[in-house]
């Protein structure tokens, strides 16, 4: 710990002219897939291509919340496994990912919402994931700052309480995985933009980069918000993905005041306190597709209005910083994980919207298996791309979502 410092993810490597696998995107999903490819499947001749620096995109912009209280049985086990992996990875990578297992409360503001939450809770419990419906008073006992009075915009009726969730230090996951990758021989090429994906005879043959061509039989596109653009511009494959800016912000640091992640769908607002003491808050995307990651005046104001209502003690706290990232939204709020269709050796892991952080560990593990064996693991089967062609959406939300311009 106090010894001589070596670069965490190795010295800078020369870009080779061929690799067994190339991963486009040095975010969490790319890093995790590379890590498991090298560690579990002995596929160590792997290059990660990152246009900027690792963790530049969603990996460094999310608010680090982890949970496994998704709505459908296809999703819950995947997120559960991801949740279970944080302590394992901390040990394996020998890097403190700072998992704060503080539990999540999802506030409900009507009887109808309470009922809707029951389905999610029942699904969680059926899969052995702890989750409970609690009333407003119980929620207040957990989060004393909560305003449970009747005269706020959305009075609080209760909450879905999910103790296994919490917060993980997102940057630590990026750096820890990078460290693990480097240890197993993966080459991380930062400032290296993939400019083309090459295929011949229905098979992947290589990747063009700003620094030269790479021969490879396998490519994983896991470039977060930029994946859909890459798939379309390099391969002509149109994904049913709308990319939207999503904003988040932090307040000035405070001594402990919030011991849980608390969120509210009605207010479009969540809040949790980072280990540094800042209240991190955010929620929904801007309702128009764009790649800008620009902030808007209305959003920070909306957030202040919402917090003023349900966490009024924060009114005397200052917002310090707001930023934006990209959410690549699919029509059913579930990702696309697919491979060898329509091109052999082409793998995709995208459409993660704003769930990419919580899932990265488990997804990396399964995508690695997929890429190493060529066979889709059971866990990933429901997430294939063709479900949209067949109009078989996954039902991750009850309400209809629509990100196209008609909305």
């Amino acid at each position: 710990m106090f010894g001589k410092r070596k670069p965490l993810w190795g010295t800078k490597k020369r870009l080779k002219s061929s690799y067994d696998a190339v991963i486009i995107g040095g975010g969490l999903h790319g890093l995790a897939a590379a890590y498991y490819l090298a560690k579990e499947h002995g596929l160590t001749d792997v290059a990660i291509l990152e246009k900027r620096y690792i963790g530049f995109g969603g990996a460094g912009r999310n608010t680090a919340i982890v949970r496994a209280n998704q709505r459908t049985q296809e999703n819950v086990p995947l997120y559960k496994e991801a949740l279970d992996l944080w302590p394992v990875l901390t040990k394996e990578l020998n890097f403190n990912l700072m998992f704060n297992n503080c539990g999540n409360l999802n506030l409900m503001h009507s009887e109808a919402a309470m009922k809707a939450a029951r389905m999610t809770i029942a699904t969680a419990q059926f899969h052995g994931v702890e989750s409970h419906l609690i009333d407003a008073k119980e929620a207040k006992a957990l989060v004393p700052a909560l305003n449970i009075s009747e005269d706020i915009t959305f009075p609080i009726h209760g909450a879905m309480y999910h103790p296994p969730g919490g917060i993980v230090r997102h940057d630590a996951v990026v750096w820890g995985l990078a460290k693990g990758c480097a240890k197993h021989g993966v080459h991380i090429h930062q400032q290296t933009e993939a400019t083309g994906i090459l295929s011949a005879g229905g098979r992947i043959t290589g990747v063009d980069t700003a620094r030269g061509r790479i021969q490879t039989p396998r490519v994983l596109v896991s470039a977060g918000g930029y994946s859909a653009g890459i798939m379309y511009h390099m391969l002509g494959i149109k994904l049913p993905i709308s990319v939207l800016t999503i904003q988040a912000m932090v307040t000035q640091p405070l001594k402990p005041i919030l011991d849980h992640v608390v969120s509210s769908g009605a207010y479009h607002c969540y809040a949790n306190q980072t280990l540094k003491g800042e209240i991190a808050t955010g929620a929904h995307m801007d309702p128009w597709p764009n790649y800008t990651t620009q902030n808007t005046a209305h959003y920070i104001k909306h957030q202040a209005e919402a917090l003023s209502d349900w966490l009024p003690c924060l009114r005397g706290v200052k917002f310090m910083r707001i930023w934006g990232g990209l959410a690549d939204m699919t029509p059913d709020m579930a990702p696309v994980m697919d491979g060898n269709d329509p091109i052999d050796g082409l793998y995709m892991d995208c459409g993660w919207g704003y769930f990419g952080f919580k899932s990265c560990s488990a997804v990396g593990k399964y995508m690695a298996e997929y890429m190493a064996t060529g066979n889709c693991p059971e866990m990933l089967k429901p997430f294939h791309l063709r479900r949209y062609e067949n109009h078989r959406l996954m039902g991750e939300t009850a309400a209809l979502v629509n990100y196209t311009p008609d909305n």
Binding site: R5, P7, L8, Y53, G55, T90, K91, F95, N96, L97, M98, S110, E111, K115, A116, R118, M119, A122, T123, Q125, F126, L133, P144, P155, R169, A172, T251, Q252, P253, L254, K255, A266, L275, Q294, N295, A297, I300, K301, A304, E305, L307, S308, P312, C313, R315, G316, V317, K318, M320, R321, I322, P331, D332, N390, R392, G395, T397, A398, L400, D406
Partner: protein
Amino acid sequence: MDRLKQLPTLRINTDEPLTLKYRRKTYRGAAGDTVATALYAGGVRIFGRSLKYHRPRGLYSLDGECSNTCMAVDGIPNVRTENTLLKDGMVVDAQNVKGSANFDWLGFIDKLDWMMPAGFYYKTMHKPAAVWPVAMKQIRKAAGLGVISPDDEMKGRYDEQYLTAEVTVIGGGPAGMAAALAAAESGHRVVLLESRPHLGGCFDYRVTTNGQGTHLYERARELAEQVKQTANIRRFEHAAMVGAYNNNLITAFQVGKAGDGFTERYIEIRSASVVVATGCIERPLLFEHNERPGVMQVGCAHRLARTYGILPGKEAVFSVGHDLGLEAAVDLSDLGVKIACVADIREDGQRPDLLEALAERDIPVLGGWVATHAHGGKTVKKATLSTVEGTVRRQFPCDLLVASAGLTPVSGPFILAQAGMGYDRRTGYFLPTGLPEKMFPAGRITGINDPDAIEASGRLAGLEAAAAAGADVTQAAAAARQAVAALPGPERGCKLVTAPVKGRKSFICFDEDATVKSVKQAIDAGFDVPELVKRYAAVGLGPGQSGIPGHNLPLFVAKYTASTGTPKPTTVRPPLVPTYIATYAGYNHHMFKRTPLHDSQKADGGIFRNIGVWQRARYFSEDFDCKEEILNVRNNVGMLDGSTLGKFRIHGPDALKALQRVYVSDMSKVTEGRIKYSAMCNDDGCVIDDGVVTKLGENDYCFTTSTGRAGQASEWIRYHTRFDNWDFHIVNLTDSMGVINLSGPNARKVLAKAVNIDVSNEAFPFSGYREFFIRETIPVRAMRLGFVGELSYELHVPASYMQTVWDMLKEAGAEFGIRNFGVETQNVLRMEKCHIILGQESEQRTNLLDVGLGFLWDRTKSDAKTVGAVALRQAENDPGRLTLVGIRMADDTRAARDGAIIVDTKVRGYVATMRKSFTTGEAVGMALVESQLAGIDTRLQIFEDECNGELLDARVVPMPFYDPEGERMKL
């Protein structure tokens, strides 16, 4: 301490004394003081302790670039006392201390820095795993500055203002004022924002003269007076700009002064063009213990004396890299501070008159020297200076070390406006590489320092901004451009990044206690991009918004990595000045729509809930099972306020085509005098809306949508006809029309009393539609529907007449015992009839066929005409979908809860709505189940939350549960 009371530059009024309390002691200040200056005048040097190492921290900049002087004021945490105006009776307290700011029990942590290299969190405390939760608790307690408690209340009034202007000028210094005046000449509306409580900027406190021989502080006051006299300039003092968004939308917040009707005010300005005249802050000098109380920047020391009448120290050492430092040394010496020595990083290039003035005062000037160490326990006692090469060292006793490496432009507004930023080799500043559209820089931000040049550049920018906003100022602008060209341009900036030190205690970021050493460690660990260093070593992420490290970090990273390129700046993010949530929230409106009957529903005992954008009466008694309400509709007659229903009229030559496109049914079959129920699907065939369509005439229809879709319905139709160039109009009548639902076996008798048309079953049958007037005055559109399963009339009435009609019906129904029913009662009634509510019996993926509404779909219509038809055709042959079924519990006393799931080894579906029916006595409901389980009498097992594995039994039963023949609605 005695204040200097006679200075013409003062911004305090010593005739108006104010007091504040800090640690049971009362301190005296004057009107115009900030909390920090009043404390400083009272001898306070240590304002709090630093985040990580608990180092004592003092006054450093006066403009809030760091959290050094953040204190709790009147219970509000993290208040920057250095720019918070003192109000009488304030109570302040130090933050992040165990004990007091002067004696902090945790001060020893400063010695343990070797245990906490950059990123040490990531490498420790996780082995063994059991350590982490314990360690984490301690980290949380140690982290954070201010304290709040769950029941804290932020007092005050928070205002909002939305302005439109041609030109916004950010910064009320000489350049900003000149810009505002110039822009105002053409008659434009100008908004001028100044973050300090008074206009004046860098002229405000300086006694040197401009080219005309006027003292700068006098010139500042002249300009301010001109601004005040100019009617079309709206000036906002103590208003910090915090955000810049697309199309020059600028946000700011203003602190109210005595007499203002607000505590703070959120301001949003939409203007055509913007002048950025934010000036400069100082670039901190990096040396050992460079933030020890007693070390402060040039402007801070100078303004303490000139603006606040406080001598910052008795004996000072200066270590500067800029003429402003020399100017301050001369002036402070004249005001009574003993200046031991001025070390100037620059070997030469100083203004000769300043060197002369220093020589006259016998102040030694060491060219090419710099401070390397501020000694002292808690405050500075002595300074070590050395040559910039580190070859020779000398020590000077002092209680004040004025240190500043150079200037840093306040370029935040440009960064927020998406300008690319690049390193400028002459000034050493990060400046915009291209200016954002209609945004103009003025004054010191461009690197100039000559007073006349500052004003001239302001005037030019003001004229350019006016021109960008449409004024013709060609001649004036040409003259202004010439004037600027004739005056001194950008000056060479000092490039020294750190004093020749190892940097273990050279703080590059005060807020997060990041040292030069920790930055080196981060870079050594591979974090060689400033943005990554920022994250790994925690630099510039604190309350100071990068004010302290923003300029130095990229310079240092470039140096340390031996980069051959130019330094790359880091990003800043809004709000540029931390802003209270209360201020952003402003009035904090409750935005809900109320129906025309809101008040009377409330008076009738309605218990309201927020449903979508509306407030609706959900119950009319504390019995949330609604037994009485339900039975009264089933057996008698009830009335529901259904005004939230989406109501539209569509007309024009292509109105029918548009309806054909979005509805699944053949809409050409809608006939006058009859209603048609139909549904809309999206491209996946999923039901998005259902409602009733009526025909008023040829290509003239009315239709209803569900409450939740009323906002989007027009857009939906427009979107799906966007390529067709059809001619039709849609009018949203949702708010202008109310809806009364009159239901129950006695409904006809009630209606007959209130209206004078024939309402007999023959004259107005089920599915009929009639238009008539009540008392020849109130136009009513009436439909006979059956949503709740009884004889039922839906009356659409202009909103303004709603209360009247409601009261008439109420009076007419009195003899039958008519009573209100709410949304929950309607929910149960329609459930017994298995009439679905979208979102309740459907989810995102549910299509028209799944919910049993396939009969609505007209398959003979061309698919191209109907949104969703292609998907529906495909889904017809898809076996694995969820299907809506009726279910009944094996135990009728135990209805499963809504949302319970249907399972075997997997989840097979879920209960959408289920109630114990008061009408039939059965526990029945609707569920979405996999299609293989949809057969009548299929046994289902239900898994409820908290059931601990004990499943409930149910079976699939025919729908509906009540009046299966539908006779009652046709009575």
